[in-house]
């Protein structure tokens, strides 16, 4: 049974608590029915406030929230047919697992027999049957999360809202429960909106990643777009995996620019022909850390169109499948190369070695 359309549209959404500053500042977003959407941003960026407004626990100051074609502002959570999974779960500490999950059915006036039948089915689905009579205090973090999920899903909502659902778990469990969330989402076939400050979590789970800063959406789109093609310095740095450089345009070519900055010159970057850039403009550019190739300074210059910056190795971290090499390429800025493990150990570098950090112009991208 399909629980009704769960597509969400946020239009001009603003929230202010003091009438002066907007915690959420003009957010527009469309989330299709059945999508897994992650709001990503540092604490205080307004992502939880958006979630609470969709859930109906806060009212927007301005703007509309449309779920399944219907403006839900002012409706109670039940009327919206949304359900929320709270940060650190907020389970009812005095009720057993079974009664926690049955709570929503109980307040709807279902008889004990009726609601326990539904709860037993749900507990089987999330593998809680053996724990039915335990109190939340006697459950592990992962089990508590499953109870919270079951409690939210029992009413067959069309949208499930998750506030930092994995933050209370340890690292290993987090990865396992991440899969569980995704599996549940597929099984239930409903829209999930998930708030997190962990970029790995967001890109691993989401169909749509929404990166936020100070109440505004910086970028939204499929995980790969946001990770591989960040629109600006903020998104690139927040998602990680990129080296961000800034400098002045020295030369404009047909499909590439040459950038220089106080410490380094001759940085080549590919540019879309539609983009209008003039000589002397200040721009930011990003290069993926795994696109950087490290060469011994003695092995000669790389071919044309490539950038080669002399760098000293500051530190080396072994990461298993790759090796993280920290360089002083741009003084006072982080510059990191991810070298595949096998490549690295064919000719390992040491801290203090001087190398050339190279990449071809096509691998660098101009940011907004």
């Amino acid at each position: 049974m399909r629980p009704g359309r769960g597509d969400i549209e946020l239009a001009g959404l603003c929230k202010s608590y003091d009438g002066v500053t907007n915690v959420v500042d003009g957010v527009n977003l469309k989330i299709p029915d059945g999508a897994y959407c992650c709001f990503l941003g540092p604490s205080g960026c307004g992502k939880t406030t958006i979630l609470r407004m969709i859930a109906g626990h806060e009212d927007p100051t301005v703007g509309e929230i449309v779920i399944g074609g219907e403006n839900v502002v002012g409706l109670a959570p039940v009327e919206r047919r949304t359900a929320m999974m709270f940060q650190s779960y907020a389970l009812f500490p005095h009720l057993t697992v079974r009664d926690n999950i049955a709570f929503a059915l109980r307040v709807r006036g279902q008889s004990r027999l009726e609601r326990y039948r539904a709860v037993d089915l749900m507990m089987e689905k999330v593998r809680l049957t053996e724990l039915a009579d335990r109190l939340p205090a006697n459950l592990s973090g992962g089990q508590q999360q499953r109870v919270a999920l079951a409690r939210a899903a029992i009413t067959e909502p069309r949208v499930l809202l998750l506030d930092e659902p994995l933050s209370a778990l340890d690292e290993q469990l987090r990865v396992r429960m991440r899969q569980e969330l995704r599996r549940m989402q597929r099984e239930l076939g409903i829209t999930f909106v998930h708030v997190t400050h962990t970029q790995l979590e967001a890109i691993a789970l989401a169909d749509i990643v929404v990166v936020m800063e100070k109440g505004k959406i910086k970028q939204s789109g499929p995980a790969r777009d946001v990770y591989a093609y960040p629109c600006d310095r903020y998104v690139a740095e927040f998602l990680g995996g990129q080296n961000v450089l800034s400098g002045k345009v020295e030369k404009v070519g047909s499909d590439h620019l040459v950038i220089s900055q106080p410490h380094r010159a001759g940085i080549h970057v590919g540019v879309h022909p539609d983009r209008r850039v003039g000589i002397g403009d200040r721009i930011d550019l990003a290069v993926r850390r795994d696109d950087i190739e490290l060469m011994r300074a003695t092995s000669g210059e790389p071919g044309g169109g490539a950038t080669a910056l002399p760098s000293r190795v500051l530190a080396i971290e072994y990461q298993g499948s790759f090796v993280k090499v920290m360089l002083d390429t741009i003084p006072d800025e982080e510059f990191i190369a991810y070298v595949p493990e096998r490549t690295f150990f064919q000719d390992p570098f040491n801290v203090g070695d001087v190398l050339l950090a190279t990449w071809s112009a096509g691998r660098a991208r101009v940011l907004a």
Binding site: P77, A83, A90, P93, A104, V107, R108, T155
Partner: protein, 286 residues
């Protein structure tokens, strides 16, 4: 004695220094006195007799006194519970401003800034025949004759108790309510619970330990009191304690001691019933 058990004894010494002279010895003295005979002039004859207990337990007066005391206890408990719960609920869930909540909390303690006797006397201009309440009611034409039942009556006793003891309900209930995670309430609302459901299914069960603690305070204070009954009833009602206060006045120490032991036993029964309903230790350490 090993070093470890020596240290353990050292840890409990401060507690023992308080409990033994101020609790254990007085109780023992009362216990001993309750099985002695009096010589009628305040002296005690060292012997062993259960006559004092027989006297207390077979006297019809004892039952009347307990009936009266239990009536006051039940009424006071009921009203302090309702008022105390509502005050605590208001302070915890409706007053958003922390500073305001603390000031309101302090206002609740204002009556305690003065002595019990002053508080008691203050009821006279309020509840008396020509007091404020009566003149207000007469003035608005609701009654024609002043209500005599307001002062020097059972009503007055209960009013005075409730006024005096509600704070003992407010504090522990406030304490247990303040520990309820607001997100738990939100989660209930999210599940479609009405305000009444939240109260019935979440807040009351989660305030149980506070309610039990407050009930123990109120019940034991009312059952052990004689002063309020005496003053506020104008001598019209008596309590268990006022009876053995009078025994002491006429130097009947053994009878008074036997009554005291009986009251202690009954209080222990009542409190253990409360504790049976709510496992305070588990609730608090959770």
């Amino acid at each position: 004695m090993s070093r470890q058990s020596w240290v353990a004894w050292l840890y409990v010494t401060p507690l023992m220094l308080v409990l033994v002279p101020f609790f254990l010895i007085p109780i023992l003295v009362v216990l001993v006195a309750s099985v002695l005979e009096t010589d009628g002039f305040g002296g005690l004859i060292p012997t062993f007799t259960l006559a004092n207990y027989v006297g207390v337990l077979t006297s019809a007066q004892t039952f009347h006194l307990y009936a009266a005391t239990l009536k006051f206890t039940a009424l006071t408990w009921f009203f302090t519970l309702v008022i105390g719960f509502l005050v605590a609920y208001f302070l915890v869930f409706h007053v958003k401003n922390q500073l305001l909540a603390i000031s309101l909390f302090l206002i609740c303690t204002v009556p305690f800034w003065t002595s019990n006797i002053i508080r008691m006397i203050s009821w006279i201009p309020l509840l008396g025949k020509e007091g404020l309440v009566n003149s207000a009611l007469l003035g608005t034409g609701i009654i024609r004759e002043p209500l005599e039942v307001l002062l020097y009556s059972s009503v007055a006793v209960v009013i005075a108790y409730v006024h005096q003891l509600t704070i003992f309900m407010v504090v522990p209930i406030f304490n247990s309510m303040a520990r309820i995670d607001k997100r738990v309430v939100e989660a209930a609302l999210d599940s479609g619970a009405s305000r009444l459901d939240v109260m019935r299914l979440i807040i009351i069960p989660m305030s149980k330990s506070g309610i039990a603690l407050g009930s123990i305070f109120v019940v034991s204070i009312v059952m052990g009191d004689f002063f309020v009954v005496k003053v506020m009833s104008g001598g019209g009602s008596a309590s268990v304690v006022s009876a053995f206060y009078e025994n002491v006045g006429v130097l009947q120490y053994p009878i008074a001691a036997a009554s005291a032991v009986l009251l202690t036993v009954i209080l222990i029964v009542v409190i253990s019933l409360i504790l049976r309903a709510v496992d305070i230790r588990r609730e608090i350490t959770q």
